[in-house]
Symmetry: D2
Subunit: 398 residues, 4 copies
């Protein structure tokens, strides 16, 4: 049993199986995939990678299974392998390329079966008598045990919340994950949280709520990511980048490819390299825009054209960013009480209201180079019929 030093969990034990898996090129690639995409432009410390996160998820999954006597040694191995491998389907910059990969290849990052079925990982699994299909199901959360790493309240979330807080330095890494794990158990094939873990479960949701605007949706990250994905999309449409190759690339390789481009993509990446970011020309919440704004997500390029035309500038100088409203699937986690099972939002008043509270954090943005900021702002207000801010916006109005 060897150990790896981890700033978040102390020491992580790795056995022969996990050591061998870690030493595959597929796992090593994750050393070069930043966990938080371009957030390091806001939080200079946020350079942590999917690699260490994967170790952390494996560590927490092991901790959880150790307290459940009904799981066999082989099942534990399969789950540990799944935990370790759960992110090998991620492309460069993690979630930043996720949307494009899905659009062009129909693959989500959890769809890793093909990666498990060939090459060194397949060999290792076979040697240890482990079933690649079962592991793939775990990773997609399509099995009882798989809920541990992929369900409403899973160890994946626990690790990334605490880890992201450690590296950004944000004070909100408050999840009492040790207590939460301690209180989790299986009940009729469902992973549930015992009554004693309710407060810890609340803390997880609240933590995610607080991290959202400060980290995950910080406007500077959104701007950088919008710039990056638009540039990448252009390279894909020019057949310079093969979207099917993306999930085998790392941050460095994709960045270098984009830097070599002499057109729009190259210019965008150089802007990112030198932190010459677009600025917010418009940045408003639900209370200021038409409630149908989410429907515009499919026709963003047309609207960018409109704005550019009104502002009298090139269309490449306008970027619209309409995020999806946050989904809080953790609300559906099951709490086991004396009287039966409840969904978390039924067991906790604060959780019940978090979905509404998340609405406060949603913002759409229109971004432009500094010199066009004002013109684009005026045009965008026009195109989106932006209202003066009214007091508050409730979920039921959507």
């Amino acid at each position: 049993m060897k150990v790896i030093r981890d700033p978040v969990h102390g020491y992580i034990e790795i056995d022969e199986l996990t050591t061998t898996l870690i030493d595959t090129p597929q796992m090593q690639r994750l050393r070069r995939i930043r966990q938080l995409g371009l957030s390091n432009l806001v939080y200079p410390g946020a350079n942590h990678t999917r690699f260490e996160h994967s170790l952390g998820v494996m560590h927490l999954a092991t901790m959880l299974t150790e307290q459940i006597s009904s799981i066999s040694a082989e099942e534990k191995d399969e789950l540990r392998a799944a935990a370790l491998l759960h992110d090998i389907g991620h492309g460069p910059l993690s979630h930043v390329t996720e949307g494009l990969i899905k659009r062009y290849t129909r693959k989500q990052h959890e769809d890793v079966k093909p990666i498990l079925m060939k090459g060194p990982i397949a060999d290792i699994l076979e040697e240890h008598g482990l079933n690649a299909s079962t592991i793939a199901d775990h990773i997609r959360g399509q099995s009882a045990l798989g809920q541990i790493i992929n369900s409403e309240i899973d160890v994946d979330r626990m690790d990334y919340l605490v880890r992201d807080a450690h590296y950004t330095g944000v004070a909100f890494g408050l999840v009492d994950h040790v207590r939460l794990i301690h209180e989790m158990q299986f009940y009729e094939d469902k992973l549930v949280v015992g009554r004693g873990g309710l407060k810890a479960a609340e803390s997880l949701l609240v933590s995610r709520f607080l991290m959202h605007p400060s980290v995950y949706y910080h406007h500077v990250s959104r701007i950088a990511e919008t710039m990056f994905t638009r540039a990448l999309d252009k390279l894909i449409s020019q057949d310079i980048v093969d979207p099917f190759e993306l999930r085998y690339m790392d941050d460095e390789h994709l960045f270098e490819t984009m830097r070599h481009d002499e057109g729009y993509a190259g210019e965008m990446v150089r802007r990112l390299d030198e932190r010459r970011l677009y600025k917010r020309a418009l940045h408003v919440g639900f209370e200021s825009v038409d409630k149908n704004v989410l429907r515009h997500r499919g026709k963003i390029e047309r609207m960018e054209g409109e704005i550019a035309e009104i502002a009298g500038i090139d269309v490449t100088d306008v970027l619209i960013d309409i995020p999806k409203p946050p989904e809080i699937e953790e609300m559906q986690a099951l709490i086991k009480t004396d009287g039966g099972m409840l969904h978390l939002d039924k067991a906790s008043n604060i959780v019940a209201t978090l979905e509404q509270a998340h609405i406060d954090n949603w913002k759409m943005g229109v971004y432009a180079p500094r010199e066009h900021r004002e013109a684009v702002g005026r045009a965008a207000r026009d195109v989106f019929s932006v209202k003066k801010r009214t007091k508050q916006f409730r979920l039921t109005d959507l």
Copy 2:
């Protein structure tokens, strides 16, 4: 300028004024007053005192005033003195004796003017040309500057939340107090939080929400505190303890006094010393009791008699504990936005719902020695007409 090492804030600077005030017997007494009363029976690390908390509040108050140029040096001194002295009116075990002191003496712990007006503190203030009345007003929050240490969002709360988390080991000390303080300013004599501090303000309220059931209202603390206050009340009514003397006593002295008692009070304190605590015979939330239960707070002893009679035991073996519903005055803190000032609960959906969420955490208890637990439980269910738990309880039902 000397420095004191503080586990929470690093180093705290003390100048000549504060050094001299610290060295008065009134301030030194706070070394022997535990910050969290009897919570150390639940959290063995919670032995921190009002003394270090007072240093912390002074430190944060100084940090806040340093960024406001309009405050004069003398005003700063007065505020620093007020911050340091703000808890010298507390009795033994802090909030544990607060209710009894108020009931018998009409004094709240913020009413410290008499203490400031005589003895060494008065001498020091006079020497430094500082006004004791002004300082007393600051402590009661009845002045503009006083809002810094006593208002809806003050540095008192910031210090105790982070400090209590440090010593209990609970993971919820998530307040970004540095950011919050950085964003605070005066606007027309009101202490307000700038727009950029909204998330930090939310984090403070959420932190308090999470700390409530885990620490401040943990059922074991409630049991111990109910036992203690009932014992103390008995000694007061027997003229053994003078309620007017309480705010000049420390934990040790009161405990020793009570230990010398040979009746009920002595027995209770010996139980606390040896951790032979009463147990929960009944422990239910608002959803299970009549909504008028709060009105019973005035006639607890009569109801204890009723329960004892039904259970066929001595009345001293029944303790009823009906806490006040939590007040969240922080919701009234002012947020300064472009369009004017808003109360925090209008500016934040999550804050708007916290009052409701706090209802989840309210529990009333009936406690009894282990051997009478069942009998008392049955009797209490009867007396309070306890319903089977229904799903949820909304604030508007109260």
Copy 3:
């Protein structure tokens, strides 16, 4: 299995045996014994107790035994009990009263057999079929397993170093105790550290070296403790305090007893209460005094008389404090290498030199009330023939 929240180790698991032991009056008394005596006069956060330290030692001992397969379940129980109970022989303020207790009763705090052989602890041990003698041997370190909690490198030291750092806020709690424990094993009935644990073992010694002058021998603590022990000694010689009773008393009770005294002892404790401490009239290292100074430790009172006479003041206004030179028994810990076993100071150059380095930190003090400070200083320099500081002092000169 229940858990207790600990700020240092996270969660500590307690089983039925340990829960029952914890709930005895003997263990509960430790809640009222401060770990660091009077250090809270220097570090306001240092109010932690022997109780939580005992839980921590039990936690670490369990962690260590879990990795050694040859230990039986019963032996583990005995060791856990010993770890939990290892400090029940401490008197008030821990080490502060240790010297007096030993002088008057010949008992050291590890001599706990009589406490284990009667009362509730004896009952519990018998119920669980555990041998009180074996446990007493463990506590004195006179058994193979006992080395885990009482030997050159034991979990007792690991816990207190990290814990004292947490509560004082001092930055030196650097012990990598998890790694160190991981590398410990038994070899021919000796507890040894494997080669891979050498650096962690070095870190433990270095940590203790750094903590020494900053915390354990801070001059303000030394002054307070000298005042306190002299006062207590007086009460013992007046038959007001029975030295055989001390190890059954707690801090509060002893303080209250002393406060009731109307003579010297009462005055001293009131001084401590109000932090009117004696000041350093003389404070010098080995380089400035005769190398035979340590021999004076037996005739301190006579020398105080001499100084008082020269200074023309009352003898009670002079306190001499000649600490023992630090012993670093950890240097004798065994390191297991390929070629056999080495003592730690043979395996590590830095450890080899620590004993010498500790000499830098030794200081003798003569203390007096502020108003006599100068006169006492002059007289003391005379009596001790204090030299001008020469450059450095080597161990071999002693």
Copy 4:
């Protein structure tokens, strides 16, 4: 005044000058230079960059200057600029390429004058009326103020020790840098540490001592770095990489360049990417080799040839690594005492012995692919006449 969140120091304030400097391509490049080279192969969290370290050094330098009243506002600006820019001369992977850059270009990373004298940085400095030459002198430590960022005890060391501990998760980040800075002052143009800072200064040296074998000289990092530099050297000698360009490149660009190579360099980098590292065939301390071993540093390639020949393998399969013995220039830091100034190693016994203690940590290595490990090991023992380990090795024997 804006703030940047830093996991180590909390918040770092940046003013207009520093903001503008940060936004130059030269500073932004540091975002892509890892602080600890290839240490992330050992510590998965060690992905932090020169960029955040530079912010940290600027933060600490500001803190230090703020307590010295004699420094003018302009001097402060120059020092802040110097602190921020002090690492812009680093090549990819920081110290990993330092040796090669020096060998081929005679430039050290502190020689940054040419970079300051042209381009956007020159413009900004001129705009603010700051002298580029003065700043360059500060960076080289060739000025009074420059000692703050480059001297025996400077804020550069303080930041990197604490920061490296945070990201590796190693427990030894024990520097009490706040206290140390608080005690630093200028005395006759020398930056000195006041008597009260002696313990904090000791802690800095001890921290570096403990970090050395665990982090900075961990054998896996040494292997990876030896592989990397040998590969890079080959590319330089083939004119594929221009050594004068290195200090303008970032990690990503250099790695991508090397990956495109189809010979030795490409193979080495792919090995690093997939963590197929060479193994230790020989790894011994001073006690096992001829004391003249350091003289071999100049003829490593010839000796690799010898070993390869004996082992009967290709010379590229042997890598010899003979590190320089550690220099501890901090020992020459000045401590100001009542009697004058002392070098730190004269004022502290532990520091006096650290140089000797560092000898324990020195190891030379001969590395080879796993399959040749044994053969190379035998040959290397032969070539270096490796002795059986004798007990200890003293500095004076060198």
